[in-house]
Amino acid sequence: MAQREIGPAGWSNQQGQAQGENASATHDQSLAQREFRRAILEHMPASTTAALRVRGLRKSYKDVVAIDGLELEVRPGECFGLLGPNGAGKTTTIEICEGLTRADSGEVEVLGMHWDSHAGPLRQRLGIQLQETQLSDKLTVFETLRLFRSFYRQGPEVSEVIALVQLEEKAKSRVGSLSGGQKQRLALACALVGDPEFLFLDEPTTGLDPQARRQLWDLIEQFKRTRRRTILLTTHYMEEAERLCDRVAIMDHGKVIALGTPRELIASIGIEHLVEFSAGEALDASALARIEGIRDVRIENGNILMQVTALHRAVPALLDELGRQGVPLTELRTHSASLEDVFVALTGRHLRDD
């Protein structure tokens, strides 16, 4: 088969082609942005500007309520994260939005369209990565992507997508021989092969080692930077949500319990830093609460956990106090408040059991 010449910097989409095949990367990018806005104005009813709108969504499996009156709105061009522990209803939610699962009740509008009436056009415009898909082990990376590419009317060349997810060296390898991270990058490539306006990623890095996870984050960030397309992703890794998402909805028991940018969410719990330490049993914990900048002293698993506003003043004061009491310090950790702490503050539980 004749392969078309690969355009510069990855993508040459249909809009790009209409304006000239070999547009420069920056031109492509700004063009894509303009085209995207135009597309929104043209294709969406005047009343809606959301890429995804979910209202009053409910779904039960037998006697388990998976989604309990969920409301969501994802803006065009943003990366929106659904963060929550396993069983919070994230996958059910995203699969309903993807048109793969039917809701019991509620309304879902994707790119201004409904699944009942516009499944065909929607499928052309969405890129989907499922939580667990075993692609055929017997096919090569190239063959797999060529298969997926054949389903879409427009999109980049197969070799461009392979380059985008950095699998060039594995293009001729069987899928069965790939590592977990490589498989996940291939799954991402399968989602990108139709040049989607809206990308759905369900737990894209679950089960990957830290290095593979970081590599995938880089790829998703790169896609965000260059394409400015809408992304909805689910995750139970707070680092992932903090790093990739413009806005995050924290989910628990099938409901959104908090919504905002990662920064807003962290600020909302009024904690800046956390200090955790272990000391001898003779410690008088009540004295700690009187130190300036230290609030909410708790004992968790034998460790002392404190919320701290001014780290540079509180830590020396803490060390002074321990010295005064003559208690030996065996462990000391500090970290800035994260989405994990937001979840703990809201539910009293941790995102992950491990």
Partner: protein, 346 residues
């Protein structure tokens, strides 16, 4: 170059996927191609150089034994009455000849057993001739053992049909349940892939392998046993393609809901085992009672085997097997239509 001209067709890519998945699985290849040959060799050897049937009979008196030995198709032993009765009861002999009162002869045999009835006729003729009967019409035997009318000639079309059914049903059902189990089907459904193409790809991918499969079986039959193909090869190919499509459609239907290999295996056995028995693979389906013949003829395996035998052994044209073609076509349309309707796409 425009987008449309270089774009791969989804049906081609899906078919290629099916083909590659199969071709790159060495075990599947082995069983698909080796199994019909192994079976043909085993059965061919079992039935090939078998001498003309010799029936074992017993006689109670030396006179009767002497008379019976004049018949070359009988293997005669002399027993005491008790031992003879025992041999008859246990099936060691097909008939026991005893002297009756007043110079008569008594034949004891099971008249529901064809061997018993054949032995009765041969034994009586031998006894009558020994007693001096002269046949009024002289007769002469002409033995017919030419290619086309032996058991192996009957068997090869049967095995061909059986192989096409097993391969189509098994490979199709297995691949579908596997894709469902691995979430691959759900992933494909999340793309704009036209769903009927997914199902059609199973039918088309069979074509690649069908020619190899049929070629191997027919070539083996022709080279080793001299099994003829007297009809048109084109007709034969058309029959095989139609049959394969019908069996694939049956496989699609069987796998349309199942989520596990175990679940679909049960359904496959439920549909295939009756056909192994009733469709005349190893022996003629005519042996079953008339009342069930219409049902047997409506089975797809019966239809394809009948049509293959008509083509290969009698040199019949497609027009002569129109009823069988109709049966296969009906199975194809009904199964594919139902599969499309019932299919669980996740």
């Amino acid at each position: 170059m425009t987008e449309a001209s270089h774009r791969d067709h989804p049906l081609v890519q899906l078919t290629l996927m099916r083909f590659r998945e199969f071709w790159r699985e060495p075990e599947a290849l082995f069983w698909t191609f080796a199994f019909p040959i192994i079976l043909a060799v085993a059965l061919g050897i079992a039935f090939r150089n078998r001498p003309a049937e010799v029936l074992k009979v017993a006689a109670v008196t030396p006179e009767l034994a002497q008379a019976l030995r004049q018949e070359k198709q009988l293997d005669v032993q002399q027993f005491s009455a008790a031992a003879g009765a025992e041999a008859l009861r246990t099936g060691k002999v097909a008939l026991l000849a005893e002297p009756g009162p007043g110079g008569t002869a008594v034949y004891r045999y099971d008249d529901t057993n064809p061997e018993g009835r054949a032995a009765r006729m041969l034994a009586d003729a031998a006894v009558q001739r020994a007693a001096g009967r002269v046949d009024p019409v002289p007769a002469r035997d002409q033995i017919l053992r030419e290619p086309g009318s032996r058991y192996i000639d009957f068997l090869i079309p049967g095995l061909l049909g059986l192989g096409m059914m097993s391969n189509a049903v098994w490979l199709t059902s297995f691949a579908i349940v596997d894709a469902r189990r691995k979430n691959l089907m759900k992933r494909l459904v999340a793309t704009p892939m036209p769903r009927q193409y997914y199902l059609l790809s199973f039918l088309l991918s069979r074509l690649f392998l069908l020619f190899v499969e049929v070629g191997v079986t027919l070539g083996f039959g022709a080279l080793v046993f001299g099994v003829p193909v007297r009809g048109s090869l084109l007709d034969l190919a058309a029959l095989c393609v139609l049959a394969s499509f019908s069996f694939c459609a049956l496989g699609l239907l069987l796998a349309s809901r199942a989520r596990t290999i175990e679940g679909v295996s049960g359904l496959m056995n439920l549909t295939q085992v009756p056909m192994w028995i009733f469709s005349g693979v190893f022996f003629s389906a005519q042996r079953f009672p008339d009342a069930v013949q219409p049902l047997i003829k409506a089975l797809p395996l019966t239809a394809v085997i009948d049509a293959l035998r008509t083509n290969m052994l009698q040199g019949g044209s497609l027009a002569q097997v129109a009823p069988q073609v109709g049966v296969l076509g009906a199975w194809l349309i009904v199964c594919f239509g139902l599969a499309l309707k019932l299919f669980r796409w996740r």
